[in-house]
């Protein structure tokens, strides 16, 4: 009961922080919107001419996945903020196993990222995206949840080893951006050059993007069950590694 309460209070903390930071709310909508409009309408005609169909329809699930990727990685990396503001110490000396602390944070960060994904979903509707209503749609929340847990835990794992925010742009440029661009969020992955195809296949974000497409527009590359399995497996592994690294933090 005590641990459940602790997870709850950590979860609600993340939500409060998210909802109170208006600047963060605005900027987190602005970027995906820019991608949708600029890429969606910019490449739309060419994509249609090449026989791909409606590019906005193809792009929207990728952009929803992108915003969840960014938000959840950011939510995990927030551990560094808490280190610098000193708040992390408060949780590290508490009579609660650190695994519980790590899980509470991760669930909180993942929930924020899911809310964010939902907000962007609404934005895509405004821009003209229309999801396919199929039974697969029911699995969308599961794909979103797994993806958000995976990347919040990954962010936490990385942040556990870092001590200052200067590392943040490094993580963005050398991990998050490559994962995003090599995920098929922006382009179909069916006929890629071999090297790129391998990179896409090894990239966990690809399965999130593919899962979003499978559930929202009923189009996919790997298959929904493969997507869910891949996400669930990587998420479990990363959560375990994250918990181990979090357990070793010294303040």
């Amino acid at each position: 009961m005590h641990y459940a309460n602790v997870i709850y209070i950590l979860w609600i903390r993340q939500l409060k922080r998210y909802l109170r930071s208006r600047a963060r709310l605005v900027s987190s909508v602005a970027q995906p919107l820019l991608f949708l409009v600029a890429l969606g309408f910019g490449f739309g005609p060419i994509y249609a001419k090449a026989g791909g169909g409606d590019y906005i329809t193809f792009l929207a699930p990728g952009i929803i996945a992108m915003s969840m990727l960014f938000t959840s990685m950011f939510g995990g990396i927030e551990v560094i903020w808490d280190k610098q503001f000193g708040f992390l110490k408060e949780t590290l000396v508490a009579p609660v196993p650190r695994v519980v602390i790590m899980l509470g944070r991760t669930v909180g960060g993942a929930t924020v990222a899911m809310v964010q994904g939902l907000v962007i979903f609404l934005v895509t509707l405004v821009v003209g995206f229309r999801p396919e209503i199929t039974p697969a749609l029911l699995f969308a929340p599961l794909v979103m949840f797994l993806m958000c847990m995976l990347f919040t835990a990954l962010g936490t794992a990385i942040a556990s080893r870092l001590n200052d925010m200067q590392a943040f742009p490094l993580v963005m440029n050398f991990l998050v951006m490559p994962m995003f661009f090599l995920s098929g969020a922006l382009f179909p992955v069916d006929q890629l050059p071999r090297a790129l195809a391998i990179a896409v296949r090894l990239n966990p974000v690809s399965y999130g993007v593919d899962g979003m497409r499978a559930t929202l527009i009923n189009v996919n590359h790997f298959g929904l069950s493969v997507d869910i399995l891949a996400l669930a497996l990587t998420a479990s592994v990363v959560i375990v590694i994250g918990a181990l690294l979090f357990n070793k933090i010294e303040a």
Partner: protein, 263 residues
Amino acid sequence: MSKIIEVKNLVKKFKDFVAVDDVSFSVEKGQIFAFLGPNGAGKTTTIKMLTTLLDPTSGSIMLNGFDVMVNPNETRKSFGIIFQDPSLDTELTAFENMEFHAVLYGLGRKTMDDRIKELMELVELWDRKDELVKNFSGGMKRRLEIARGLLHHPAVLFMDEPTLGLDPQTRNHMWSYIKNLNEKEQITVFVTTHYIEEAEKVADRVAIIDHGKIVMQGTTTELKEATKTDNLEGAFLALTGRSIRPQDAGNDAMRLGARMWRR
């Protein structure tokens, strides 16, 4: 009397720098123990090791019967700490910070509500409980940290420079509250401070640390007798010399970093 803290041959090295050098001491249950030393003497590093935040390079620490390294979780149930550096969530309100702490420490709803009110009144923040901490002044934040640290009643209460930057009124309130806790609930208090006269007033035992080593320990009277001085501050200066110490650089960089991001 039983020993509630027992530290033996404690060493902490950061690369080549020895922050804590073969320190041994013990604290009896129910005592107020003052741990004094100039800046950079190793006080905070020692506290961090005692509170499971840092792993020692070597040596052993027993706290409330638990080996701190072997059994960090049980150890954490035995102590509370008021940190020297800020450790509040500034994006939450004062009340939310208190509540967060109470939940972490598993306080029941009734105890939680009663104590939060009692302590926030003690530090005169009850009427501002729903304000975000980021809008608080430095002194208000400090008071909130103290109130939060006293929420659960642990076996051992660590206080690292608790009264730094507080006005005499608050300091007096705080000390009488702690004295009372110490007497009523047999809570052991481990305190570091630069206000030596404060330590002289409240401490049952004093240890003075310098350059990572304990130079002397005993009661206030013992220390004064040994150094032939008539107050504890005199004894402190006699033992540690009069030169001013450089602050620990690593710590400073961290504090500066935190300040930068707070803007």
